[in-house]
Symmetry: C2
Subunit: 220 residues, 2 copies
DNA sequence: AATCCGAAAACGGTATACCATTCATGACTC
DNA sequence: GAGTCATGAATGGTATACCGTTTTCGGATT
């Protein structure tokens, strides 16, 4: 028998997860100092696991170190988001092409995700399931490093999307159905098209996603 | 006045560099255990910087951790190299397209690299300068994350190429002139072609590079 | 009021120590 | 001889302590 994988046994992991959540939820504002001792005291662990957690978060792009080794919550500019967008546009079509055969043989995980999306109760949940859908395709590509690279930008994407949501509370776009049906169409196409077309479809899907996003006015 | 950047002030950095070199030079064989205490004793530092160095090397793909936290020198299979090749094919054309305007305005760094390549005295030096040439393009793309992703696979590439070299000592291909002139042509083309063509040219350059490589017979 | 400066507090880098777990070795059993 | 189990060494995770550097802040100076 095993423990559920969510509750990590090591304090370094649970510390990085707690900090990640605080950053993604906006509790820790961009630019905030994450001092090792302070975090350690606050979370009731020693500095060692905190230190390790900060390195992890740096790898995930949520934290950056100053020249003197201090860790700060990273600031994300619209220009940063553009970079992330270009990377999705670069990585995901390749994954789509590679994953096409796998998806044709078994798309159950993707379909399950779509069903869950239709039952989502909050906008945040839709966003999470959306990213999970795309990560599933990366996994099905069978390209371990491609998946690793994609994961290395996932947290930054989540941070940006979370901020967007908090800024546009009022809007009641039906993102849920939009996302679900868009993903559904993508799978249908994947099942009937050759890999090269799957690349193009993946690309178009990202472009569409980008256009739906409510963007801020400030360019830079 | 500053210290030369090569000698890093922190022991964690110098430790990771020493280990990186040992792995790339084949002193540490794939599969070898890198026990924290043993490395610490051998290098005359405590376990703390060693631990940090091992995390760094894991990020760079030279080391992998077992489920119980032990660090081993990563095994690289031909299939792993295929993944790396696909990633170059994915990332570098995008960088080429983005870097085109910058290169047109100032290609001096690239030209300098080519000149150095022509003066290289060992095959290993040619390889290093080759990778540096491509990294320069990534830098000139102005896309910080694209560069970061490329760097995250650079060490693995170096490891593979180093192993190839050691396996094919006898061959006396004139890689030096081949590399230099190929890079020269690429720059010339970059200067006269639109960004979309630069993407294609970058892609072709990588494909050519791949075909020149002496590959092993074993597929898996 | 603005600037400079020095002392104290905060902070990061590293070493050492402790403990639970894992791993390797050899004896023992069948 | 193959498999099993116990024991001790090796190993990683974490806490704590020390030290040099950086940062902060209040007071002196202009």
């Amino acid at each position: 028998m095993k423990m559920e994988p969510s509750s990590s046994s090591s304090r370094a992991d649970s510390t990085s997860e707690k900090l990640r959540r605080e950053i993604l939820d906006g509790l820790a504002a961009p630019g905030d100092l994450l001092a090792e001792s302070a975090v350690a005291r606050r979370l009731g662990v020693s500095r060692v696991p905190v230190r390790e957690a900060l390195f992890t978060l740096e790898r995930d792009g949520l934290v950056e170190f100053s020249g003197t080794g201090r860790a700060y919550v990273k600031e994300l500019s619209p220009r940063d988001f553009e970079e992330l967008y270009v990377l999705r546009l670069t990585l995901e079509p390749v994954a789509g092409g590679l994953a096409a055969p796998t998806i044709r043989s078994d798309a159950s995980a993707l379909l399950k995700n779509i069903a869950a999306t239709r039952k989502a109760r909050t906008l945040g949940e839709v966003t999470r399931l959306d990213l999970e859908f795309h990560e599933l395709i990366l996994e099905m590509s069978g390209h371990a490093r491609l998946l690793k690279l994609w994961r290395s930008i996932r947290s930054e994407l989540e941070m940006w999307l979370g901020r967007l949501q908090r800024q546009h509370r009022g809007q009641k776009l039906d993102t849920r159905e939009q996302t679900a049906s868009s993903h559904e169409k993508l799978i249908q196409a994947f099942r009937s098209q050759p890999p090269s077309a799957c690349e193009r479809l993946s690309r178009d899907h990202i472009i569409n996603w980008r256009e739906w996003l409510p963007m801020q006015q400030g360019q830079k």
